[in-house]
């Protein structure tokens, strides 16, 4: 018994302590509890993984039954296999670094213990999600991380934009959960169980139609959680949350849950090729779509937010073309470099006293050098610079995409070029040229830059050291794909070209970009305004729903039609008002009494009429 339950239990204890008595604790105690609990979870995960050896067969821990209805039951059960092991280490490892960072970043904020309580609660649910041994327990974690995301996006609850963004995240995710729930029902009906082991061993025997339906419904859920088109709209707004939250929840961990679920359900997906195709197409479309928006954003966090949407699209492309291990590979490297980019952005924002607009930055290279150099590692990694972490994982995905359909590869390559462009555009606008703002930028404290250095190290060498496809080779079907140097070179070149163009536009010839933008006119406006998707949703869905509910349903049907009929029937005899007068005249009591005992009289009367009062054969 490895007591896997302890892994989420540590941060949960942290949540309880900081949540209940945090306000009465000194800051240092809050820090020790918050960070310590996650470090303990990390340590315990490591201990369990090493104790269990090669993990070629899933290790299951069963605690107790949660729901039982007839033969069907759902248990509290955790499973540890290689996929879970990787996820556990990412979540607790990156989680620890971000918790440490947050102790510095949040030092001067109101509600400090509340922040860490939420953050620990998030860890609890995220770890439940990756350890869950069945779909329903996974759904507990899934909804729980959504709850924490809501709480943390709206952390600055005095700001209306923050609380609105929180609502939006929760509700859009609920739309995704609509699909997830139906997938669960469909699994129960067809498999009689939600247990991963049972479902996956029986899946190959089920009809392709059923499996396709399940896979597509799961995909709806995954699109919500992992911010894929058309449900991605909540993620950019989620940047209202404090930056460590953006790094942990909205870049490194929670938003990858959709990819995790698809990889976890690989048995279902591989038997539903049509659904796989949909996953790949949605992923690819989201990747390129979000990347174009990222090209023109001026808020540093928004750039990285769209970048996250885009990179998640890459992961979907990976799992969609059957390269599950490559998808997870990219999930891991992305966790390294995107957490780094966000934390670095946080450090920049911190240095500029809260400024997020890159037009108000510039020239920060010399003022905050540690942030600059670490961030540069992340930027190169995401651009697919040779031998850095992003290079390996992106290459694996693109190669698999080419194997599946060459056009997907080419779209992916173009996206890679755009990725390199917008990331370096952000780098150049922030760190190069002259400082354009009005603050006095200063380097962040060690609690913030030490995590940056660790993440920079991982972004550089993580892809080489942790060869996920090799680790997961036994879990997923391997694709027979040869190394193709030409394809690799093309994607690397795309990245370098992207960097080059950004350098030209923002360092060599600054001003040219604005010129170009005004020349593009309508197209630029369209992209700058994110294709007006939010506005379209508001006009097509939200507003009609609200105004229809108000005028048609409430005022129309409820007050007008139903009550109209009721009052109308009343007025035929006396009307509600008439009754009112009658009752107000002091007859309430006698009337009410009459009703009850009158009923008795009715029975008696019917008895007499029917059979004579006592003539019936009373028993």
């Amino acid at each position: 018994m490895q007591n896997l339950w302890l892994i989420p239990a540590f941060p949960f204890a942290g949540f309880l302590i900081n949540g209940i008595i945090g306000r009465r604790l000194p800051k240092i105690a809050t820090n020790i509890i918050a960070v310590g609990s996650v470090l303990l979870a990390f340590a315990w995960a490591l201990k369990a993984i090493f104790a269990l050896g090669d993990l070629n067969t899933p290790y299951v821990e069963h605690y107790f039954t949660w729901i039982r209805s007839g033969e069907f039951h759902v248990d509290y059960e955790f499973v540890l296999d290689r996929l879970t092991a990787i996820m556990l280490l990412i979540v607790t490892g990156i989680g620890s670094l971000i918790h440490i960072y947050a102790t510095g970043y949040m030092a001067h904020e109101e509600g400090y213990p509340r922040f860490f309580a939420y953050l620990n609660l998030f860890m609890f649910f995220m770890l439940t999600l990756v350890l869950a041994g069945n779909y329903l327990l996974l759904f507990v974690g899934w909804e729980g991380v959504g709850l924490c995301s809501y709480l943390l996006i709206g952390f600055y609850f005095l700001k209306k934009s923050a609380t609105t963004a929180g609502n939006k995240a929760f509700i859009v995710n609920r739309i995704g959960d609509f699909g997830f729930s139906l997938a669960i029902f469909l699994i129960v009906v067809n498999f009689g169980s939600l247990n991963f082991g049972m479902v996956f061993s029986a899946a190959p025997g089920k009809s392709e139609a059923t499996l396709t339906a399940i896979a597509l419904l799961l995909l709806v859920g995954a699109c919500g959680k992992s911010a894929q088109f058309p449900l991605y709209v909540w993620l950019p707004d989620a940047m209202e949350g404090p930056t460590p939250v953006s790094a942990l929840i909205h870049a490194a961990t929670m938003v990858t849950a959709g990819v995790y679920v698809i990889a976890r359900s690989s048995v279902i997906y591989t038997h539903a090729p049509a659904a796989m195709e949909v996953v790949a197409v949605i992923g690819l479309f989201t990747a390129v779509f979000a990347a174009t928006i990222g090209l023109v954003q001026n808020d540093i966090k928004k750039v990285f937010a769209y970048s996250t949407v885009s990179q998640l699209g890459y992961m979907f492309l990976g799992v969609g073309v059957g390269a599950f291990s490559s998808g997870i590979y990219h999930l891991m490297t992305h966790a390294f470099f995107k957490a780094l980019l966000f934390l670095g952005a946080g450090s920049v924002i911190h240095a500029c006293s809260g400024e997020q607009d890159m037009r108000e930055m510039g020239g920060l290279r010399s003022k905050i050098p540690i942030t600059f150099y670490t961030l540069m590692c992340g930027a190169l990694a995401i651009s697919g610079f040779p031998l850095l972490s992003g290079f390996y994982s992106k290459d694996a995905i693109l190669l698999a995409a080419h194997h599946h359909a060459p056009w997907m590869y080419w779209v992916g390559v173009i996206t890679a070029g755009m990725t390199a462009f917008y990331v370096f555009r952000a780098m150049f606008m922030t760190f190069f040229g002259k400082y354009r703002g009005h603050h006095h930028p200063h380097e962040s404290p060690p609690s913030m830059w030490i995590p940056l250095v660790v993440l920079a190290f991982l972004s550089v060498v993580g892809g080489y050291f942790f060869k996920v496809p090799a680790i997961l080779g036994t879990m997923f079907p391997t694709l027979e794909e040869g190394e193709d140097v030409a394809l690799m070179a093309i994607s690397v070149a795309a990245g370098l070209i992207g960097i080059g163009i950004a350098y030209f536009l923002y360092v060599v010839r600054p001003g040219l970009a604005d010129n170009l933008a005004s020349r593009l006119g309508g197209l630029y406006t369209l992209v700058y305004n994110k294709y007006f998707v939010d506005e379209i949703y508001a006009a097509a869905v939200v507003n009609p729903l609200i105004s229809g509910s108000r005028t048609v349903l409430w005022k129309g049907v409820d007050a007008g039609l139903i009550d109209g009929i009721v009052n109308g029937v009343g007025s035929q005899s006396k009307g509600l008002g008439g009754w009112l007068k009658l009752l107000q005249s002091g007859n309430i009591r006698s009337y009410a009494t009459w009703v009850v005992f009158g009923s008795v009289v009715v029975i008696l009367a019917m008895g007499i009429a029917g059979h004579g009062m006592f003539s019936g054969a009373a028993r």
Binding site: L553, L576, H611, G616
Partner: protein, 495 residues
Amino acid sequence: MTDHLLSIVLCTPLVGLLVLLVIPSENRSLLRIWANVAAFAGFLVSLPLVFRFNSSASGFQFVERADWIPSLGVHYAIGIDGISLLLVMLSTVIGLIAVLCSWVSVETRVKGYYAMFLLLQVGIIGVFVSLDAFLFYVFWELVLIPMYFIIGLWGGPRRLYAAIKFFLFTLVGSVLMLLGLLALYYLHLQQFGYYSFEISELMKLNLPLATQQWIFWALFFGFAVKVPMFPLHTWLPDAHVEAPTGGSVVLASVMLKMGTYGFMRFSLPLLPQASADRMIVQIIAVLSIIAILYGALVSLVQQDWKKLVAYSSVSHMGFCTLGIFALNANGLVGSVIQQVSHGITTGLLFLLVGMVYERRHTREIGNFGGLAQVMPKFAVAFAIAMFASAGLPLLSGFVGEFTILQGAFQANRTWAVWAVFGVVLAAAYLLWLYQRTMLGKITHDENRLLRDLSWREGAVLLPLIAWTFWIGIYPKPYFDILAKPVAEIVARTHK
């Protein structure tokens, strides 16, 4: 069982009421204390039911039977199965909380108020334990009177309108229900040659489908008004808005379940073919789905905090009726769990609204905003109630809704698809309410000095909060308790 435990549970509030009546009206504090003692005693005596209930036995337990009006075949027959056990427990807990929460809010005619609540309690428990249709009907009507007065005498400005609307809707329903029960009674006489209102006797009836259908619709109106099902729900928002907090809590948490209980105890077992009739099932399922979506959408646009919660009840009760008419184990078990859960969560929401109303004397959502700053404990309690109501896992609402939807999905996939939309909308109207009342900056100066929860208010809320977590985290005992009775009902409808 010969120790009359169930009769004691039934009579404790009645004894409390009789003692209350001899306390002089001027002695308010003694009245208050006594009413609370009586309600607490009512809860305490119901506890042994749980400990001594045998969930592996089939049929009714704690049965007591005596002739009442032998010539008419009317019996004092009471007993409970798993379904009624849960509803009785819900009633005694909610009854206690409703009395407790009225400590300071009711200042006029204190004696009458508490008397009404204790009488109400007798009626409600009676409905859930009756095994005789006549006895059931007496208790059913008995509930109507005190609730009418609670709304009409201690309610808000439009209390008379609301009380009469409540009364008329329920009355019309009850009369039709009575006709249905009488029809069964006479048909029983025809088939067996003797009078009996006992449910176990009526179950022996063998009726042609057409007759069953007629009787089904007669009963339907009685039950559907109480639930309330669309389109018979319009009394509910008015009644809730005008009722005092304690009244709203009992009304929403317990009284609505009389309707769903009626379906489970009478319609399904006594009229199994009609209940399983394709058309009837289809109509009720569609009405339930309309209630789910309609209630949610109308909640979305309410400007009155309490009215919003009232409409959300319509939506949540739609899940309960949908589960019942899924006619399978998951649907019915889920429905009962959802009924209990709705009792807890909606009770919480009404209690919370009431607490705010006592401070501010308004329920207009626009008058609030930013309350989380001045009332942090309140904000936490409200958040928990909200998420429980919205069906977040590890809270009670999820277990009920999930099981119902699973059952609905097994019965008809389209139903489930529509009903799941209701879950999406629930998040929308609740979160939006929370944002507008709790979050943001304080926009009205009157709200700046609101005090946070008192210990007494905390004591009212905590048991319900603990209960919603219990059901959410470890609902297995509930599934165990419900397995047998639900299996019996399902077996009857599938004959």
